[in-house]
Amino acid sequence: MNAAPQDARVPVLKRMYRFQWEAAQDCHVLLYPEGMVKLSASAGEILKRVDGQRSVEAIIAELKALFGGAPLDDDVRRFLEQAEGNGWITY
């Protein structure tokens, strides 16, 4: 398999959203004006690293290290694409 192209873009959460851990729900959530989204465990792990500092590549590398080198590149890219489509993040 070919190596995926490097992605040096740095994602950041849009200012309208707040990302936080909710003990009562046992998951991460995104909060915004008068609404909320409950996040899956993997979405939570990705968004935890969307901080306006780490690049897409850096996020992927960290998650790979965390999950024993699992091939999760495509999953992360797909989630970030969706998150951008939903208006949660920008670059």
Partner: protein, 375 residues
């Protein structure tokens, strides 16, 4: 509005803190009870801080400061700071009247997440007439201040017969003010708006026009500015899933401390709503008979009881069922399976004829004098 938290249940995710019934505006569609003037005893700061802590411990995430006009509480900054520290997403629902830029900044510092400003109309004359206050220019200035202080901003305009024909101007105004979300909120007919139904209910022709305009702008603006527009449920055939079901995710605490499953529930007969002065939020949510009264499906009558849609709409709105049938456990007459649906359709048609003939009763404004007369 967008992203209602329907996928999580069983906890009071939404806490609406109605801090006061005092208000500088007199909107004739106000959702406060008609007899608000008799309910003067407001909770103090310590009570509210306890309510915030207890509801958060039960899993509340979204907090709305509302009223009346919540800016009239001078402890708003204290409550906001505590809410932020507890991890709420804090929404201020305001008319903008009584606000100045310094307070916008102070609330930001205290950790307020979002401000929703209401407009009554897109032009000064109608806005000021409906609100009973010369507030239009100030509201515009405050909307600009909210954006200047980097808050997400929702603009809310309650839509009814008096302003619906200006819906295009209203949307243009919200674009000009750079709203992030726009709620074109069709009047819901409870309390003051039910009293003023004849003067507020739009005609079918008005609705068709408004819907077409809203759709056009929704397509044009896309994600840049989300526009929410829902037609009034009196014109629908299926009821709204009011409050996502009774005692399901919403908890309102009224200025006097009454805890309600919805802010219009105060006048349902046969229910004793608990007060946060006497009871914990845990007891109120999990054990009080009033919050259990219409939970689940056991309380339902036919045609709801055997209806496959009961898991979607929960039989509609309990307050509306009571207002239109005299029985709070009846099917919401918006539903065309309700035996009272035909009577509702007839009422809508009668109001339309009165509007065409110009025989509509004048609006009764929401103020202390009228409240005393009605209470």
């Amino acid at each position: 509005m967008a992203g209602s938290p329907t996928d999580i249940a069983g906890k009071p995710l939404w806490l609406l803190a109605e801090l006061t019934y005092r208000c500088p505006l007199q909107c004739p569609y106000c959702s406060n009870p008609l007899d608000f003037a008799q309910r003067k005893q407001e909770l103090d700061t310590e009570d509210w801080l306890r309510v915030l802590r207890e509801a958060r411990a039960l899993g509340a995430m979204q907090l709305g400061f509302s009223g009346g006009e919540p800016l009239l509480r001078d402890d708003l900054e204290i409550l906001t700071a505590e809410a932020r520290a507890l991890g709420y997403y804090t929404n201020l629902i305001t008319s903008g009247v009584g606000m100045d830029e310094a307070r916008v900044a102070r609330l930001r510092e205290a950790g307020l997440d979002h401000i929703q400003i209401s407009f009554q109309a897109s032009n000064e004359e109608l806005n000021n007439y409906l609100g009973g206050t010369a507030s239009f220019a100030h509201k515009r200035a405050m909307a600009r201040a909210v954006k200047a202080h980097d808050y997400p901003m929702v603009l809310n305009v309650v839509i009814h017969r008096q302003n619906i024909d200006q819906i295009e101007d209203i949307i243009r105004m919200t674009i000009e003010l750079e709203a992030d979300f726009v709620e074109l909120a069709s009047t819901q007919y409870y309390g003051w708006s039910r009293l003023n139904l004849e003067g507020l209910l739009p005609t079918r022709e008005q609705l068709r026009h408004a819907e077409a305009v809203a759709k056009r702008y929704q397509a044009e603006m896309g994600d840049r500015m989300k526009i929410i527009y829902v037609v009034p449920d009196y014109f629908e055939n299926r009821p709204k899933a009011c409050m996502n079901g009774w005692g399901s995710i919403f908890l309102t605490v009224a200025p006097d401390g009454s805890a309600l499953p919805c802010h219009a529930a105060q006048h349902l007969p046969g229910l004793e709503f608990p007060n946060v002065r006497d009871q914990s939020i845990d007891y109120i949510w999990n054990e009080s008979p009033a919050f259990a009264r219409f939970r689940g499906f056991e309380w339902m009558q036919e045609p709801c009881r055997s209806c496959p849609d009961k898991t979607k709409d929960f039989g509609g709105c309990r307050c509306q069922a009571y207002l239109l049938t005299g029985d709070a456990s009846a099917t919401d007459p918006v539903c065309d399976r309700s035996p009272r649906h035909a009577a509702l359709v007839e009422e809508v048609e009668r109001i339309e004829r009165a509007a065409a003939a110009g025989t509509t009763k004048p609006l009764v404004f929401r103020n202390t004098r009228n409240s005393r007369a009605l209470g």
